[in-house]
Symmetry: C2
Subunit: 295 residues, 2 copies
Amino acid sequence: MQLAKLHDTSTYLIAPDPGRAGLTRAISGTDHTGAPVTACVVEERPLTIFLNSQEIVTAMTIGDYPDYLALGFLRNQGMLRLEDEITGVDYDEELETVVVRTARKTDYEEKMRKKTRTSGCAVGTVFGDMMAGLDGVTLPQTQVRTSWLYALSAQINRTPSLYLEAGAIHGTVLCHEDKPLVYMEDVGRHNAVDKIAGWMLAEGVNAADKVLYTTGRLTSEMVIKTAMMGIPVLVSRSGFTAWGVEIAQQVGLTLIGRMKGQRFVCLSGEPRLIRDADPAAIPQEPRRAGRKAAE
Amino acid sequence: MQLAKLHDTSTYLIAPDPGRAGLTRAISGTDHTGAPVTACVVEERPLTIFLNSQEIVTAMTIGDYPDYLALGFLRNQGMLRLEDEITGVDYDEELETVVVRTARKTDYEEKMRKKTRTSGCAVGTVFGDMMAGLDGVTLPQTQVRTSWLYALSAQINRTPSLYLEAGAIHGTVLCHEDKPLVYMEDVGRHNAVDKIAGWMLAEGVNAADKVLYTTGRLTSEMVIKTAMMGIPVLVSRSGFTAWGVEIAQQVGLTLIGRMKGQRFVCLSGEPRLIRDADPAAIPQEPRRAGRKAAE
């Protein structure tokens, strides 16, 4: 049994566009019987991000929203400050580069000597002291209804996506109350989160009343990025690491993992939860329900 | 239904040790009913790798086999050469550092300026030209029986592991014919592969007749590492990216994805396969069979 796909995605400001040219490719091989098969496979291409004159990193990405990816990556690194005046974001498809320009003169040569390789992504997340960027971050005590979380989970799992199309990809969704707003996908879950951070920065979106949903594991990296974005609640259908939980508790972020069907575990920030839904009334997920998330 | 766990792991030279102190921690939270729950969660801790006097990277790892992780990481980066004389590998648990010393004087300052963030891990995989390390790599035409692949898959999925214990983790297994030999796990699949590379380097193991099995996606990063290790066959129960397949075809690596129950897809290197097993005779995986892999 497979859940019916969601047909009305009009609540989304940005929904996945699985049909979009350049995101997937047909790859032929042979199946277990030796018969020729063609699989629809996600692309993975380099995108080199510059901050002013300095090359910062080359990200492996499916290639959509390069401008948001660059902005969000730099913001989550603490290389772009909230007060920074962004004077330009120039994407060159041929050169596979994005240059973000700021009024402020920037130089992160020193910072970039220290690299941390996280479970999800190395230089992707953090240079130097992982917690440094979190100094002074305080997350608002926004209340969150469990009925919203169940509604979000059900909608997101049925939303047509590259994952449902081709698999081997992660999704992250910015949500408000029971509405998914922006659904980004990428080969690395860190890219999907950074694209959302970039969109929020570009649109000047308030983070205080938002919930972030991800298909990926709740590692230290994901928790740090979410806190950097000022989002008080992070939800995943996957598991979590001890350090991810520890950091969430330190910054007072509400962390919810293993959310599938009626089940979930709240590991941090319990006081934000309003348990207004009766779990018994929530259907279990059928075997092939929605996404299984990328491995 | 759940597959019975494998009790005899004696074919393994190194099998997972889920009970090992320090790899997991009990974390308490509340479940969907609001009842208190305790979850067994994998650790994630920093390990800073030095090559001689130079700090190369900080990896986020579960913390086992730091010496193999350091050796394998440096080897897969091309920073350790096969002919290098390794004069020492010093792990300091308190400082969370490993220093690898070589007779040859090393300096990768320049190389480290260029960073690539892959889907799995940024600096983890490749600096500069991703393909550079693969110049001159030729993989042997070792034949592989599909009966071996089915046998490996069945054994590995039933091997007691941190994944079965705590989830949110990846496994990679070095295999010979139908026998799994070395089974490493880590929060990032790149770490698990690097630990195997480090073990092979330390033990002087021949790669030509081996098969590498991973629970993770077949991204460009995984294919490059496998080729760097000289292993001709890479198998995964997960999906793949277009570039991962492309690189496998370029280096002539046999790439097999989505291997579950009787099913698999061969995307590259078909000529190595000897299809001696009747897929119809292979049982389908029951719903909760073995690992679902980390997300």
